[in-house]
Symmetry: D4
Subunit: 227 residues, 8 copies
């Protein structure tokens, strides 16, 4: 019998194949975001949206769900549905682990994909529980920890260890986006650049400075200090 | 021969089954708490109590013990016995690893459970030693690191790596509570909400704001700024 | 003309006289607490309550107020009114600076006190604005920054500098409580100890260990390790 | 002779009077933003834009300028001109201190205002130099340090001390916005709420949760966990 | 009337004159040290002892006192009396501010010195209260904040601002020791070096490496890697 | 073929057996300590000495060595030889990995022990290289990371992952001391308490307060505040 | 079938053999460096250069490549080519994973080496993707994380876990340099010392102090304080 | 009598006039740098050198000195003399405060300048003592705290407060360089840019990216991803 840590990519290359991927975005709710303390909440919000945009660019199926959004956990942030209009929303009946909800599992199976990119708030609960369940059910799971959000950094450290031990691949937003994109040599390259500026404000600065520098060179603009 | 890291859940789903679980709360003593530097001590205290409350809600057996409470380590914090009145206290005879004490091991075996949720101060000693021993004795072990408390963050980083290597599951308080609870669709849901506010003060704020917002809507209360 | 920084204690000893003091607790609301990032929110909550308790012990007049509690800012935390049942609540009409509200100013004047201990969430707004206004109106102002809560540490650094520049005394919770208490040689000393354990969890641990150590000595209890 | 620290509000109330205010937004450039290390750059960007929006709501004159935007410092971020379309841009001729540029000084004087709200990247240079110069020239200066951005936190600590010593008021974004707004009892209150969500993402979460909670109450929506 | 911030060195050079100095070491107690969170407790302990040693080297009078050492605050750390055997201990009667105790004030006055070097745990209480009182009584006060210890870094930031505002000089251990020593050109230079290694472990490393490097040069020792 | 991560305790309990243990203390040199940035150097120094003391209490063989102590790396800190007078020093000939030195390997083998407790500065080099080599040579290796010291925290994070991957047990000082000690029910218990106060200054405070509290109870000492 | 984590050193010693090593330095570009937030950029730059220097000293083949250096990512830093003039540059065609580029793979294979030392900016993308691909292709991979640079510390934590899980060895700069060097007993020892001062500024200080101390001893220089 | 805090710029503009300035660079020694813990040592070293370079560009007199460089404090870093070959070195006779040395004071007076830019290691001693003395002697003093280096961040916080209280201007490296430079509209602008890249590595990245972007535009270079 093999090691469980190897379960979901044993003998396969442990990387994301965009053609075999479905994306699960779980419990990104306004109330739960108030509890997040392991990363900047605006960065978390931007990262979750960036995942949705990448899925849209690649026609990757997206399933969303929420934990009792009528209560203190609050509503799903609206930008996810805006960025992935094709996303399917599955209402649960109170199950904390989305995988425990039969409609949710059925929706995942209906995609026909065997690789899952998952993000969920809180990381140690809403991301970790379905990730571990999905590995156990035979899926290749990539758990996007910095598009999830947790109640403490220590809890995130613990969750990374638990996910790795259970055979899910812990991954960050940039690796996820880049493995999905694959190459800059593609027709929609500019749209990918916009996805990155969404998740990396310093990349936006680079592009702004780059465009200006080229414009100064092309238009032979004089430096103010040399006027 | 299989990998020891797989020992306690090899072939089984690496999650907590509340029906097969006993809880061990080890050495949560006032003196030892002064040494804790890897997390806020009030948060640690709240998390340990939350574990005890969850055990009471689910009728999970609880065993407590202390390391020479007559000396500088100080007394057990009283809230644990208050939150879990059914807990059994086992006095040791100086053994640092509680598992080395025959009465303690016997008490665990007497529960008939094969899954152990363990917390203990200091994390690298009072949590880690019995966890590793219990894995070796064939138990499924969930080590609740942020209900334990350690002398440095580096020591906790080391302990997480050691626990994972030894086949115990490192886990945080929210994942532990949520796996035990399973679903919000249950009769005692409100009592679980109180457990969470115990361990997550920001969740308490959410509930307070939520109730007030609904009350304003229901009672058509005017905004002060519109009077 | 003298320096404004000297305005509120020029020629007087810059310390708190409990007999000349009124306490203003401003905008400690559940929603605003979600925005606080310069200190632990549970600690902030405990510190605000400790101020109210101290005022009750000393019969210091307390005035509370809230910023549009019917809106997203949320309700006042209930513990303040519980800890200071004699507190007077003044509803405002949308003024951000409580001092701009005539009823609020009148309530302060009605106390007849010339020394004000003020705390308010957010520090840079709800504490700072009335503090600066009150100094300008001739009061001695002690601004309790760690019973207030702010949106960033940098904002708090800025506010400390601004308060000092404007002639308010920036102060922390322990200095405030201790200057009010004055001496341990008083009938209600034990009640003061409880106030401190409220605001300093490590002090609670000290007391728990202290009582146990004395009990072991008095009752000649044997160490577990020597049984 | 009076103390220089008192120069710009000696005998006056050290607060912002929106009717007497001009706003100077200096050198918020894409290249310079890469150097900022004392605060999150997205937060800085949001704060600078929030200042521009507030100025537009109140018809406060805005003057912008840039330090050699044709060179590595890069272009001004475009959102400032978008948020304050009435802003006047003054090109400099290489002067590091904007106040050294005669056209810039003339533009400030032309507003007829004696209170200046200033922000500039880098804090210790582009904010501090004009602030100190303007105090010396007799203006009341409010230096918005967290809408500026600096190369290190230590440099910001030093600049706060220097600004206070020179008689400028060090202030944060929330205090600046709130002193300008004054009261929630105004026709454009909702637009102010949007300005705050721009600069405080956690405030946006509060509003999202608040609206949902009221909607659930009003529409008698059932909780998912009770279906 | 002059600015109170200038009270204790107005017209005098704001530096320590060892010949005019008495040292007050207040409430360095084992229990209170458990509450210290603004600096490493071993460093605090070392710094307090270093002050006592310096006083002994220079025959500076030392007065020590404790806050109810029979209670949870615990005993004075013994090293201070060991390092300054000439220190005079004054028991208080419960006064939190040592300056409120008549015997303590009398002991200070009996030294005939007008410059006071003060350290006390907690910084915001046991250091700040006597410092402010002594400035008000006309003494030059140097408040050694990093030989004191406080319950939070924010509280220390507040205390530094309050001390400066009240006219006490906030100072660190190295500045205090070095101003007392004055010059390395003195007979007891080696003893001073030992004081510094006490308070600066990296200085001890420097000396160890220095001695070894000189020994290798003098004794023509071969490098192990060249054997 | 088994997993290499399991190499050194496959089928055995992954804990330290004091009777089968030798201790290797490598390159704790004054110069190298200046480079340490992942932990407090005084704490590192104390932890290394505590290991040596524990070895002496248990008659565990100790082998020390240094990396070119005649050069900038500097001399071994003297306290290790003082705390473990029975330690054997092995000079190397420039090998960075002590295990590459035949005399060093021979000295280890001569102890007849199969469990090694190792600490070395820098962690990622002087601890990690011999640890990985010893695992490969069939030893059970416990790598005491917080008695070692490294050039950055990131480097230590990397080394913990590498050590675990290679089959060494990453461990902290408290776990190491406690596993060696085993029980407080032993004749030399008091000497062990002294070892802990060496490595944990807060434990020393606990003991000081404990003794005083018992003394007050036994001798019926009056509180100062009740005199 | 063996565990993938063991793939690249199963049965072999998991250390670097300089004679079997090629070095891949990927995407160290001026624009990408602006995005790096998990470590100091100057330290990152120094570490990357140190790798190149070490490769030159040992005649290790070096392959460099860049990700669209004509765009906002910017040019390769020039010092790498200066430090390793023998490095081969391979231009890609937009592939994000350098291993996806056939010329790059061919260049690696042409070296005939089976051990790869890899560094790349961003760590979670440009280092991690080729590392995982190379492990899957049968290489022994050492991933030098602190010569790479990532967009957040959390992303680096995730990448370390992913790399270890995939069978690459996560390693730091000092371990990499030291395993390559092996011993100080070699002709080019002094050149290695220079490489270390490049990457460890505190080592440079040690050498400067060491030389001066020996010079003082040799030349019998008098101390200034004894003149 | 005026407030001492106003002493050195009372009635004057509190800015640096390059024509009236001398620069004092005190005790930047290899040994003392090992003790620095309030900032990165490489950054400190770069900042001190940048000051020297700026002085050379402007023909500002520079005086250097060292504290017993024959002892453990170590030699002056050589780059200062390299960057300012015109600097005058004054040997002291053991005085800790350089201002206490008559030759040093004479050298300062001989420059005929009344504005002093000072940096010194340690900040709280070697920078603060001469700064306070020079203010007292009537000089305008600018104390460059981040070109100095201190034993702890808390000590630096204390020193900033003390310097401001004593009437010295606390300032950072960028403000100092920029006030000295004044304008980019000058013949040596490119040399100033090099000084900034010395002290701000991210500025160097900006320039590298800027040049490449312009080159791509000018030479119509194709993007790799579009080949």
């Amino acid at each position: 019998m093999t090691h469980p840590a190897a379960a979901n990519f044993n003998g396969q290359k442990p990387t994301i194949d965009a053609n075999d991927t479905a994306m699960l975005l779980i419990d990104h709710q306004s109330g739960l975001f108030q509890i997040v303390k392991d990363m900047d909440v605006p960065q978390l919000r931007a990262n979750a949206i960036a995942l949705a945009r990448a899925a849209t660019l690649l026609n990757i199926p997206v399933i969303t769900t929420a934990s009792v959004p009528q209560g203190p956990n609050g509503p799903l942030i609206p930008e996810i549905a805006e960025a992935a209009p094709h996303a399917q929303y599955v209402a649960r009946k109170g199950e904390i682990n989305a995988w425990d909800n039969p409609e949710f599992r059925a929706a995942v199976e209906a995609t026909g994909k065997k690789t899952l990119v998952i993000a969920g708030t809180l990381t140690s609960v809403c991301l970790a529980f379905p990730s571990i369940s999905a590995v156990y059910a035979g899926y290749k799971v990539f758990a996007v920890v910095d598009a999830s959000g947790n109640h403490s950094k220590l809890a995130t450290d613990l969750t990374i260890a638990r996910l790795a031990q259970a055979g899910a691949v812990p991954i960050d937003i940039m690796a996820t986006l880049s493995e999905l994109q694959g190459s800059w040599n593609r027709a929609d390259a500019e749209q990918w650049a916009k996805v990155y500026t969404q998740a990396m404000p310093h990349y936006q600065l680079l592009i702004e400075s780059y465009i200006k520098a080229q414009q100064v060179a092309t238009e032979h603009e004089l430096l103010d200090s040399q006027r």
